[in-house]
Point group: C2
């Protein structure tokens, strides 16, 4: 299976380089030489750079949303309605666990998610919304149920505040961690940071109660 070998070598290299530098700043030549494959392989196997970018996202977002769905199923089956903290735990640990399980770096995906939001790549936003919109809406619906009495517009703004705090912080995890380690000498691990993030995000969502 030398084909899928080339394909995954390209995906591995592209994933790392995109997360480090962004899409436009990463050339196909850098990707293919890092992957140790011929330059033309990207266009042969993926068609174009755009489609390579989408393939990189698909490879981590699909297991991410599947694990999140399974996690939510498991908790919903438990019976009573879910608490905000449980939903955040499902999102953070469940989703991330799927990546850790595959031996991949979770911070890298947070960086890619951050890039997907901020970079000027209309096709990427469209791709993600059309492919993973259902997962997002399910999560948002459950979270909304866990916050009764909140008017819908306020709820959605707070949902975006929460996502902003999450994606933004975790996508810069390494940089922030380095600063705090220098200033306080205390290293922070990703799980520890999620321990801090869950109650803070829950308080943000519940503000004023």
């Amino acid at each position: 299976m030398s084909q899928s070998d080339t394909v995954s070598r390209i995906l591995d290299a592209a994933e790392v380089l995109f997360a480090e530098r962004g899409f436009t700043e990463t050339s196909l030549r850098t990707i293919t030489s890092t992957a140790g494959v011929n330059l033309a392989a990207v266009n042969y196997h993926f068609g174009s750079k755009k489609e390579l970018i989408q393939a990189v996202f698909e490879r981590f977002l699909t297991p991410f949303t599947e694990t999140l769905a399974a996690e939510l199923d498991r908790r919903v089956a438990g019976g009573e309605s879910l608490e905000v903290e449980e939903l955040l735990e499902s999102l953070y640990r469940g989703g991330l666990a799927s990546l850790v399980a595959e031996g991949r770096d979770p911070q890298r995906f947070m960086r890619l998610l951050g890039l997907a939001y901020t970079q000027y790549q209309g096709h990427l936003r469209r791709f993600i919304v059309s492919r993973y919109g259902d997962s997002y809406r399910r999560f948002a619906g459950l979270l909304s149920q866990a916050l009764p009495g909140l008017d819908p517009v306020t709820f959605y703004w707070r949902l975006y505040f929460m996502l902003g705090a999450t994606i933004f912080t975790l996508s810069s995890f390494d940089a922030i961690e380095a600063i705090l380690r220098e200033d306080f000498g205390a290293p922070s691990s990703l799980p520890e940071t999620l321990d801090r993030l869950v109650p803070a995000a829950a308080a943000l969502l519940r503000a004023g109660e």
Copy 2:
């Protein structure tokens, strides 16, 4: 003063285009033709594209931090120590007011700030930290005083959570607002969104009390 006219025409065009598409995705040719000046003018007046990017940031960050400093001075002079909400108001309204006063679009600067964080431009991060680090540290110090009893590492993580929620949300304000308007028919203004953000961010910072 035809020189400073050319300079500011370039800065105006670059500011808008950078905010729309990012730095790498905006060519000097697009900037100069939008500004109606010669291509070589950028290298003549700014030296390089890098220095143009820094000049764009300097032009809005300097009044931003000056207004924030004046706002903090005013409130500190009031006597008793500041509440979290007052500090957030100073940051959001004070800083933004300086831009609105000059007839500039505040969301554009939030987009630029978001880009500065996520894009692969080491020189920009270094430039901003070295030039505006003092303002940041003063604000962080006052905020820390308003949250007594919080251990420093947790405080700093929450500060980043708050900045993430703010920058991330406001930099995508137009996109989020469009979605909410479509789903609920209710348009949100920036001041209204800040009214929602202040208590939510305060709750995030105070979580667990």
